[in-house]
């Protein structure tokens, strides 16, 4: 999540100080990504250092508003115009977990899939309940954020359905692949086939 670009977009509306920026950010995104005020000020300092925003004179109440510079405006335009690169997203723990569940002896993979699907479905129901109420035009930005979560949860559930269908056709990995334990030392005779290749 780019807080940097989020703050630039908000400052494009007009000068704001830290607490205003935090409130405006959370309002636009329905509180889906809470910001702490420290993150806001750290980001403002970096934006200032890079010449993308400029600190204005402190108000009587001691609040220092910031305004966007021409450089900041150019950076913001570039951000809106550039597609998000999904390749740099964090590792997908669920995909890794399922891949490992399949190759780890003693794990009921179908139960893992079903448990995840139930949890994802409940999350999806929760998002849908949030959408359920009155539809006011002012809520559109937040509804779009909510829809993003809805569609992502749906994609995950579809993928889990697909995994389950694949599992039906899958032959479990033979139990000889079970790792050796202290009271059951691995026997070379048992764990290697005739060609001597470990299974």
């Amino acid at each position: 999540m780019s807080i940097r670009h989020g703050l630039l977009a908000l400052l494009e509306r007009g000068p704001m100080y830290g607490y205003q920026l935090r409130a405006a950010f959370e309002e636009s995104t329905g509180g889906a990504w809470p910001l702490n005020i420290g993150q806001v000020y750290t980001t403002l300092n970096r934006l200032d250092r890079d010449g993308l925003v400029r600190a204005l004179a402190e108000s009587e109440a001691g609040q220092r508003p910031y305004e966007i510079t021409d450089g900041g405006r150019a950076e913001l335009t570039l951000w809106f115009a550039t597609p998000i690169d999904r390749a740099d997203r964090p590792r997908d723990e669920l995909a890794i977990k399922l891949a490992l569940a399949l190759t780890t002896p003693g794990v009921d993979v179908r139960a893992v899939v079903q448990t995840q699907r139930t949890a994802s479905m409940r999350m999806l129901q929760e998002y849908t309940r949030l959408k359920g109420g009155e539809q006011r035009p002012a809520d559109l930005p937040w509804r779009l954020v909510l829809d993003a979560m809805v569609f992502r949860a749906e994609a995950e559930i579809r993928w889990l359905d697909h995994c389950e269908a694949s599992l039906v056709r899958h032959t479990p990995i033979p139990s000889q692949a079970r790792p050796a334990t202290a009271d059951e030392p691995a026997s070379h005779d048992d764990s290697r086939d005739e060609s001597g290749v470990r299974r």
């Binding site: 003693g106 994802s120 479905m121 999806l124 129901q125 998002y127 809805v150 749906e154």
Partner: protein
């Protein structure tokens, strides 16, 4: 609260002997007034069979289906037809609107078949049209309405009168996501007003409008309303 729909140990087998197909195996389910239950599952998992049994369009091989406390197996053909007209509303993917009747007439038809006078039927149909946001379009024929509007007419027809049970089979069919969502909101609103609903869908986004989501796998129901599996249930070696 007494359930509007109850399935007790329902099994439905098509064919006999080695070629027998078990569409449903020992399925039990209760749907209360004000409750919307979604049934998800891949094609051939028994979703539509479940809906047909719930609406009395098919009979179980074993077990019992009750609508408003009446066991469907104990009803005569005539009683069953009456129950279907009065208590049960269907929304199908294929809308089954009669092309030679206007939207209003399509909605009023089940009431008239059930013995309501034309005037009372039309009044109820007008209210139902109003409720689905189509007031003023009652005089149009189905082919003069958009896909979304036709689906709303089908929903109004399913909900007109005192229907206590609404059965919907992929009601958002080929509609775009916005129109599909409007249809689900409508269904949700009617169920919140006191009907019981069963929604069959393969889309999680749509199922999420329900209070409970059931997964149907090879004719067996898995209820998500129950507690999540404990970690030890997921490890075969711990059993």
């Amino acid at each position: 609260m007494n359930p509007v729909l109850e399935l007790r140990g329902v099994t439905r087998t098509h064919g006999t002997g080695e070629t027998a197909v078990h569409a449903l195996r020992d399925v039990s389910l209760a749907v209360a007034p004000g409750e919307l239950v979604a049934v998800m599952g891949p094609s051939g998992s028994g979703k539509s069979t479940l809906l047909n049994l719930a609406g009395g369009l098919d009979r179980p091989t074993a077990g019992e289906v009750c609508v408003e406390g009446a066991s469907l197996g104990g009803l005569s053909k005539r009683q069953l037809a009456r129950l279907r007209r009065r208590s049960v509303g269907y929304v199908f993917q294929a809308l089954n609107l009669l092309p030679s009747l206007t939207a209003m007439e399509n909605i009023a038809l089940p009431l008239e078949l059930d013995g309501s006078g034309p005037r009372a039927s039309r009044r109820a149909a007008a209210e139902a049209l109003d409720e689905v946001g189509l007031d003023g379009l009652g005089g149009r024929f189905p082919d003069e309405l958009s896909g979304g509007q036709q689906q709303r007419v089908a929903i109004a027809r399913a909900l007109v009168g005192e229907r206590r049970l609404v059965l919907a089979d992929e009601p958002t069919g080929a509609l775009d996501s916005q129109t599909g969502e409007a249809v689900l909101r409508l269904l949700r609103t009617r169920v919140d007003a006191g009907a019981a609903g069963v929604l069959v869908t393969h889309e999680a986004r749509h199922a999420a409008w329900a209070d409970r989501v059931l997964f149907l796998r090879d004719g067996v129901l898995v209820d998500t309303a129950g507690p999540l599996a404990r970690p030890e249930d997921l490890l075969e070696s711990a059993q």
